[in-house]
Amino acid sequence: MTDLTHDAMAVKIGHHTSEDAQRRLRRRYAAERRFKYYGIGAICLGLGMLAILLISIGSRAIPALTQNYLTLQIEIPPEPLVASADHNYMQFVEREILSLFPEAVGDFQAQRQIMSIMPFDAAGVISERVLEDVSVLGGERIDVTLQLTDEAQAYVNGEISRSTPEADRRLTDDQMSAIDRLRDDDVIVVQDGRPVLDIAVNLPFYEVVNQSNFQSLANDALYRLFPEVEGRARRDLRAIISPGAGFELRQMILADPGLIGSSVSLEVPLSDEFDQLAKNFVDRDLPEDQRRVNDAQIAYFDGLEEAGLVTSRFNTQFFTAADSRQPELAGIWGALVGSFYTLVVTLLLSFPIGVSAAIYLEEFAPKNRLTDLIEVNINNLAAVPSIVFGLLGLAVFIQFFGLPRSAPLVGGMVLALMTLPTIIIASRAALKAVPPSIREAALGMGASRLQTVTHHVLPLAMPGILTGTIIGMAQALGETAPLLMVGMVAFITSTPEGLTSPATVLPVQIYIWSDAPERGFVAKTSLAIMTLLVFLICMNALAVWLRKRFERRW
């Protein structure tokens, strides 16, 4: 050791306790504290964002839990019902006549030719008959006598014939032969010197009532509350109730035809604007032209509210209905069922395939190029953007294999491919965690490798595999982008009935609603999100519980 180093050391003795050192130390500790605060700041930022997200969406979801209803005393006279279905009666006649022309099935032009021998409003006769006696609906066939057009009458009377130049007769040869056939069948007969169409028609109750305008009945009930409002001003008034009112009334009457001719008290949903008004989300101080409801409407509404006709109830519609253009009628049930079907497909495909693949790779596969390739592949697939899986589904499943668009089957298949890596990776980790001693023990007893795996290793690894599967399913439940690609974004107002019927899923429903301009959809979207989050939290909690419950340290 040299003298030089001795001196160097001698200088430094006491270096760590000097004044200078203390000052340096204080500076270092200040830096330490700053660093720690950065950390705390980062955590707070993350947690704060989570809180803001949950609060901002959660608070907007609350209004969607309730819906305001207007109690209306609705008269159900037969006249408007029957009359509003007026022009549709023609189709029942059409059905009878066309049954005489089986060769015209599927041939629109031929059908139009045949039907054009009668004036368009011929069906007025039928509504008169129905008004006389509503019970003919759904009963026996009734005989009706309908007029023919002047040209047809002229032809039957022999005033024109095929030899008449086309320009003068306004009847084509086809129409003429149709008339001939109807005459042969005694459908066109001559009554009181005039040729008429005499035919028995069937008036199914359901179809007639289904096409009637029930909304106008509800509107009438509303008009009666404000007798002073007339003419165009009634437009403002009827905007108060939702188009769903007529729907509800129709369901009621279809269920109980006896209601026709009586008066019922019905709670009909308010339309979105007035639901917002009832929930005090409309700023009454804004200038009239910046509001969706005008002053007159606010006055009507206040009147109704004072009369105690507006009630607020839990919005069951939201959890039982499918999508709708009207926020007050829209619900998530359709999307929930769609999500369910989709996840069933995903689970049925990805769980067996994923677990099998994991078992093979972990327990049986030789270490070679191929298995290395598979392993790299799986890790990469786990990080491929989900929308690429959507492209795959579109190109392969829909375009190449011709599977139906918008179907849970295809959506589930795409999501299965997407979840597969997650399940394989989790299952492999779970299998790896089972100690080799268990395998050796079973093999030592003379069990085959497959028996060892199925009897001993797999049951021990199952909790871990299930945890991974549930987490994969939770991911699939929240996935949106690939489903847009395979057409699950359609506007579907009915609850899907099977794996191939058009459907949408909850996240896609959220996406669709988030784009809608109606104010009510903000709350609906938020509530749908909250519902989705509840499902996700339950699934994740289940996964955590499984992990905790069956956690085993070897």
Binding site: L45, L50, N380, V384, I424, T480, V508
Partner: protein, 487 residues
């Protein structure tokens, strides 16, 4: 209908095979199960597999091939007169005039690909009796439609008969083979082994499917739009083609604005996510008391479990208006679909991703290095900044690359919060669009599979796939190397 009957029948035959096989095996050993080579249930499984599996495979293969065969048979059987009549009705007059001779001469071969597709769709509709087809066309195509229906009928009955025959034959021969010394367990296990191998190759098939479908459709796209125009063009407006004869009807397909927009939003996201994620990982792993760590970590991970569509809604509901108001307050004109809002929200989404990956990476740095540094009198932050972070750098870089790949591939947030118009700008307050937004908007709704507009989505998808794949491969390799270093 017949298909379901067949599947149920196959399952029943399989079950029957199991019991028949088992009882036969036991009987062949004179009731002494111990003298059999394998446990009796293996004999049952052997027969069951032979009874059910070939039939089920047949169903799968048949269902995926039969429609294609059927379509081809129908197409090739259509007489040229019918094709001419159909083309006259359905094709634009000038197009028909140009092709009439070819069609009259060679029938369906004279049609272009998309025209054949249209014809096929018409026939399918007529065959299904749907009213989507005009009566004239329906009349023209009655013949082919009936042909198609009869072929379909033939196919499903054929499937039923062949499937059942296969099942019975399998059951019979498998059962006949059973003898006390028959090595049933080995046979069953090797069959299961094959099944396991097939399952594990599905991952490769998926990748192959992605690559092939993207390449195939992109190749068609690059046949319409030159690849250099796509890669280096600065104009993106695929939607402008309204009429077929319009000038410039192919639209503009220069993807540079999309790439720039994607990178801009990803960069903003990373600027948010990397510091926040890294610092929270550091705080949680080195500073937080165990109880804080145990409660904060799972809460932070909730952020990772929130679906992206929720983040998208959060962006348009809260963040974008907030940033716009903030911009207005300081006199900045911020777009409602600003890149900033989408980027910030995407950053929040990526925070837990970065944080949990860096947590792993930081914890992989051996304790001995921390001890070594602490024993020299370093404070915690000095240890972290000067020893741990440099040591963990490759791992953190890997994590960030994975996060970038996520940001680039993220769809819903940008679809909802970013713009649609392709502006070539790096101004974070302006609206930009991204690759994923364009893919989503181009492919949502009805699309014709021959237009450049639709196909361009696949070209974009290919770009997206290639870039994210490269990032992933590099990142996974870096992380793996890093882990090996400290294992």
């Amino acid at each position: 209908m017949q298909t379901w009957v067949l599947i149920v029948a196959l399952l029943i035959l399989g079950l029957a095979g199991y019991y028949l096989g088992r009882s036969r095996a036991v009987a062949s050993a004179d009731g002494r199960a111990a003298s059999l080579h394998s446990v009796p249930s293996y004999y049952g499984m052997y027969v069951a597999i032979w009874a059910a599996v070939p039939g089920l495979i047949l169903v799968l293969v048949w269902l995926s091939i039969a429609p294609i065969v059927r379509d081809n048979m129908v197409l090739s059987a259509i007489p040229p007169e019918t094709v001419t009549a159909w083309a006259q009705e359905m094709l634009p007059a000038d197009l028909f005039a140009a092709e009439a001779e070819a069609i009259a001469a060679s029938g369906t071969d004279g049609l272009t690909g998309p025209q054949v597709e249209l014809l096929m769709v018409n026939i399918v509709n007529v065959a299904a009796g749907s009213s989507f087809v005009s009566p004239t066309v329906a009349g023209i195509l009655v013949g082919p439609a009936e042909h198609m229906n009869s072929l379909g009928e033939l196919s499903s009955w054929g499937l039923l008969v062949i499937g059942l025959g296969l099942a019975c034959a399998g059951l019979y021969t498998a059962r006949r083979r059973l003898a006390p010394h028959f090595r049933a367990r080995n046979r069953v296990e090797s069959i299961i082994n094959v099944f396991l191998i097939i399952c594990s190759t599905i991952a490769i098939l998926t990748t192959l499917g992605i690559v092939l479908s993207l390449l195939f459709e992109s190749a068609r796209f690059f046949g319409i739009v030159p690849i250099w125009e796509f890669l280096f063009g600065t104009q993106w407006s695929p939607q402008i083609a309204i009429r077929a004869d319009q000038v410039g009807s192919s639209g503009a397909f220069g993807a540079i604005p999309l790439f720039v927009g994607t990178l801009l939003i990803a960069a903003i996201a990373m600027l948010v996510a990397v510091p926040v994620g890294l610092m929270s990982a550091i705080y949680l792993s080195d500073y937080a008391p165990p109880r804080v760590r145990a409660s904060v970590k799972p809460v932070l991970e909730i952020l990772a479990g929130i679906p992206t569509v929720v983040y998208g809604f959060f962006a348009i509901l809260t963040v974008a208006p907030f940033i716009r108001d903030l911009g207005a307050a300081v006199g900045l004109n911020v777009s409602a679909n600003s890149a900033l809002a989408a980027g910030v929200v995407m950053g929040i989404m990526i925070v837990p991703f970065i944080s949990s990956l860096s947590d792993d990476v930081i914890n992989a740095v051996p304790q001995s290095l921390r001890d070594g540094s602490a024993a020299l009198g370093a404070t915690k932050s000095e240890t972290i900044r000067q020893v741990i972070l440099p040591a963990a750098l490759p791992g953190i870089v890997g994590a960030c690359l994975l996060a970038v790949s996520r940001a680039i591939g993220e769809t819903m947030i940008v679809v909802m919060a970013a713009g649609l118009a392709a502006n070539l700008t790096v101004n974070p307050f302006a609206a930009v669009t991204t690759v994923t937004v364009q893919i989503a908007t181009l492919l949502v709704g009805d699309q014709e599979f021959d237009s450049a507009k639709t196909l361009s989505a696949f070209a974009l998808g290919l770009m997206l796939f290639v870039v994210t794949l490269c990032l992933n491969v590099i990142a996974l390799r870096v992380v793996k190397k890093y882990r090996e270093k400290y294992d």
